[in-house]
């Protein structure tokens, strides 16, 4: 070893692997964003189902959140990745549309979304329950319809309670994308491993990928801080 670190390996163009790494990073962010959005949708539905749904719906949702929170993400990802694509193809086969190739991106978004959905259900449910009942009763007493109560009172009032949990979920989503490396999706972690394996510069590439993930986390934290301050306007600071 003449030089301890060969920085040219990180060059953006062909002999270097920097461009490949950034491409993988982009894929990671895409999946995290898509999965988080899908999870949020599922979470809103799940939270309202759990709070206002009938007993059967409530129990089914309880099963969903309990199973997801009890089984490792890695196992869920494998199960959903294979079962999800297989079931979709079988459904399409039944309808008579033939099979489709599901892109890794869609499958990744679906898998992360289902996992995130269970967690955001719990976060949002807790946040909605934290809204003082008196405020909602007051809104009802003013004659607001349920949709209006939701839009004008429940959602804005629960947001400050939900943001810390949702922020955590975003950070978890960004890091859960790394697990897709195990099913062979070319996101940052897998690309890093390939680059490291090809060049034997393990430390350099894993540290570079770590720096990218860390940068994403730190930037996210800054943005979250701004959002949180905005949402907390007019709220009495607790503790």
């Amino acid at each position: 070893m003449d030089s301890f670190v060969n920085w040219s390996l990180l060059a953006l163009s062909a002999p270097g692997w920097g461009g490949v790494l950034l491409q993988g990073f982009l894929h990671s962010i895409e999946i995290a964003l898509g999965g988080y959005a899908l999870g949020l949708l599922l979470g809103v539905g799940g939270a309202f189902g759990k709070l206002y749904g009938g007993p059967v719906l409530r129990d089914l949702l309880e099963c969903y959140t309990t199973v997801v929170r009890a089984v490792p993400e890695l196992v869920l990802i494998l199960l959903l990745y294979y079962a999800g694509t297989d079931l979709l193809n079988q459904l399409l086969g039944l309808v008579g549309l033939g099979t489709v190739d599901i892109s890794g991106l869609m499958a990744g978004v679906f898998v992360i979304g289902v996992v995130q959905g269970a967690y955001s259900t719990e976060v949002l449910r807790g946040a909605i329950k934290a809204v003082p009942a008196g405020q909602i009763e007051a809104a009802r007493a003013y004659g607001m319809s349920p949709a209006k109560v939701l839009r004008r009172i429940t959602l804005p009032a629960m947001l400050p309670h939900a943001i810390p949990g949702l922020a955590n979920l975003w950070l978890i989503a960004t890091k859960d994308t790394a697990l897709l490396a195990v099913v062979g999706f070319a996101e940052l972690t897998l690309v890093t491993r390939q680059a490291a394996g090809a060049t034997k510069a393990y430390f350099l590439f894993f540290c570079a990928a770590g720096a990218l993930y860390l940068a994403l986390t730190l930037v996210s934290n800054l943005v979250i801080g701004v959002i949180e301050r905005h949402a907390r306007q007019g709220f009495v600071e607790q503790r």
Binding site: V75, L79, E122, L179, R193, C207
Partner: protein, 274 residues
């Protein structure tokens, strides 16, 4: 960072239902449906491979549990000084502790694991001093890297929790202990640490459950835990769903037992009010 919410993400003792509230008419129907589903899975799917792999599965579960308990214990032992350093330490302890927690919490565990295993694992053989040391037989194996990565991760997450717990012990209690003439060490051992652990216990439950859910990652560096056994079954039998369903069931049982154990532990500590 918002640590008070992290424990809401893991399964907690309140999530396991109590028996008395369990039997309502709609639940009985759901249970019958569920039993039907389980029976159809058991009858319609292929389970003939199960007896052959049962001993290996048992071993795998033991390896997973060993990973969980050693790394949680070691991680907790590191987390206490980490939390303490962040609350009372001078800046040259505070800053590294803070940095450690931020870096570890900001990067995926899988990446850290692979950095240790592939990175250090490829670096160590280049040094003859390490090759000849008594540690070499262990450093050639995969499990020390797995334990190191999981321990570091648990320490970082739990270090943040302990920081909050140490800071949250009421000042008056510490002052009272001081007034009784306790030395710094006695005060820490008798008052500060037990009160902090007590406060952190619900979060600790969550973190331990999350740690159990992280253990299958060590299978990616060739440690033969229960996940690795199932992967082997999948490769050898060409079955997709059956082994994974069994694996999910195994983890659900393990998580359930862990949560129940923590519930027992929490109930043993008397509390007054909140």
């Amino acid at each position: 960072m918002n640590n008070e919410t992290t424990h809401a993400l893991a399964l907690s003792p309140e999530d396991i239902p109590k028996a008395e509230s369990f039997f309502k008419p709609h639940r009985i129907v759901l249970i019958i449906l569920f039993v039907g589903l389980v029976l159809s899975i058991a009858i319609l799917m292929r389970w003939d491979w199960l007896p052959r792999y049962l001993p290996q599965l048992g071993n795998g579960i033991l390896v997973s549990l060993a990973m969980l308990f050693t790394t949680s214990l070691l991680g907790f032992l590191i987390a206490v000084p980490l939390g303490l350093a962040q609350v009372t330490g001078p800046w040259f302890l505070k800053v590294p502790a803070r940095l450690f927690c931020t870096v570890i919490r900001g990067t995926p565990l899988l990446l850290q694991l692979w950095l240790l295993y592939y990175g250090l694992g490829s670096l160590f053989p280049q040094f003859p001093a390490i090759r000849q040391s008594f540690l070499w037989p262990y450093l050639r194996e995969a499990w020390p890297y797995g334990i190191a990565a999981l321990t570091i991760s648990f320490a970082a997450y739990e270090g943040e929790v302990m920081r909050g717990a140490f800071a949250g012990v009421p000042k008056g209690e510490l002052e009272a202990a001081h007034a009784y003439g306790m030395g710094r060490w006695t005060l820490f051992r008798r008052i500060w640490l037990p009160r902090a652990v007590h406060r952190a216990l619900p979060t600790l439950t969550g973190e331990t459950v999350l740690q159990l859910k992280s253990t299958p990652l060590v299978a990616t560096i060739t440690v033969v835990d229960v996940y690795a056994v199932i992967s082997k079954v999948r490769q050898e039998t060409y079955l997709t769903y059956e082994p994974l369903l069994l694996l999910a069931l195994v983890y659900m049982c393990l998580t359930g037992l862990l949560v129940l154990a923590f519930r027992y532990l929490e109930n043993r500590i008397p509390t007054r009010g909140a």
